[in-house]
Symmetry: C2
Subunit: 198 residues, 2 copies
């Protein structure tokens, strides 16, 4: 399993802080994928949620897919990913939500064919980044539309200073992030101490 | 490793042929992911290309990511995925290509930060579907722009009757597909016999 510290070190070493509160981690997470590191992140998610009765992982394309697959391999459960926009190979009976992208500044409709989430499902929602929480809220809304239970949500990197994760925690949702950045001003990164950490 | 036969049976059992030559395999490949099956597909790709000196897998978001990660886990190499459109967390120095989507009917610019593909890289290009070959050609063009070597391309499902795969093979590119459909008329699926199959 990855230690929280290993991910923090990776962020400090390879991450780049760009203007507008953008953290670029394309070298290992969301454009180039460090496969060995991804596998360790999957193991850590399995450690956090493996005993919670999760039946399925729900994520959203595109960069959530890699980490969702890594976790699913460890937990032996299927992944469902919500799609952005429509495509001819989707059914008309879909669960939809509107999501504003922090990095792209656009609003997307994300959707899942209704047949892939059932009301008996116990979902773990996974994404690579948690900033304002818009993507997670979209996925929560889709889970709600299916009548499914949400066991919790897990993201690789949370920008704690944007407040999206804590707002969800205050609403009673279990949200775990493998690393939480509480400060990123002037390129100076400060991590939140997590008691659940390995 | 997956046998070609296992994938063919899965396509026959779970795939749905929709109008306009659309094959829907959302139940196990490109919306819901059958994790155990995906892992086997990764092993089969590693069998086909494991000895070819591949240094990196190149794919395109979104549904290529899962199968690329599955193969990369087996081959212990990194994945790079091209992104559609722009985002604030990408650099300005990008390798770009235009790609027409068969299922969406749209033209997308796909791009990769130049820093993630080097001219010494030996690439395996992976995608979930091969129809007209537009996505593979876009990725080949990106590889070419980086001066990288392309060892070959591998897709899960090729619609052979659309000719994109054979056109690339005729140009001397090694293209492997785990299942090739040579006919899909009236919902009747016929697979191509592959000599390389397990």
């Amino acid at each position: 399993m990855i230690s929280i510290k290993a991910l923090e070190e990776k962020i400090l070493k390879e991450g780049q802080v760009l203007s507008g509160n953008i953290l670029k981690v394309g070298s290992f997470l969301n454009q180039q994928i460090d496969t060995a590191f991804l596998k360790e992140m999957g193991k850590e998610i399995a450690r956090l949620f493996g005993d919670s009765g999760v039946t399925k992982i729900l994520t959203v394309e595109a960069s959530g897919i890699a980490i969702a697959v890594a976790a699913a391999f460890e937990m032996d459960i299927p992944v469902v990913f919500a799609k952005k926009g429509g495509a001819k190979n989707m059914s008309e009976d879909r669960l939809c939500a509107e999501v504003k992208s922090f990095t792209k500044g656009t609003v997307n409709t994300i959707s899942v064919d209704r047949e892939f989430i059932k009301n008996q499902d116990k979902l773990l929602i996974i994404d690579d980044f948690l900033a304002d929480g818009n993507a997670l809220r979209g996925l929560l809304s889709i889970a709600d539309g299916a009548g499914a239970t949400v066991i919790g949500a897990c993201t690789a990197i949370e920008k704690g200073f944007q407040g999206g994760g804590d707002a969800l925690r205050n609403e009673g949702i279990r949200v775990e992030s493998l690393a939480i950045l509480d400060e990123m001003a002037d390129g100076e990164i400060k991590f939140r101490l997590q008691t659940n950490a390995m």
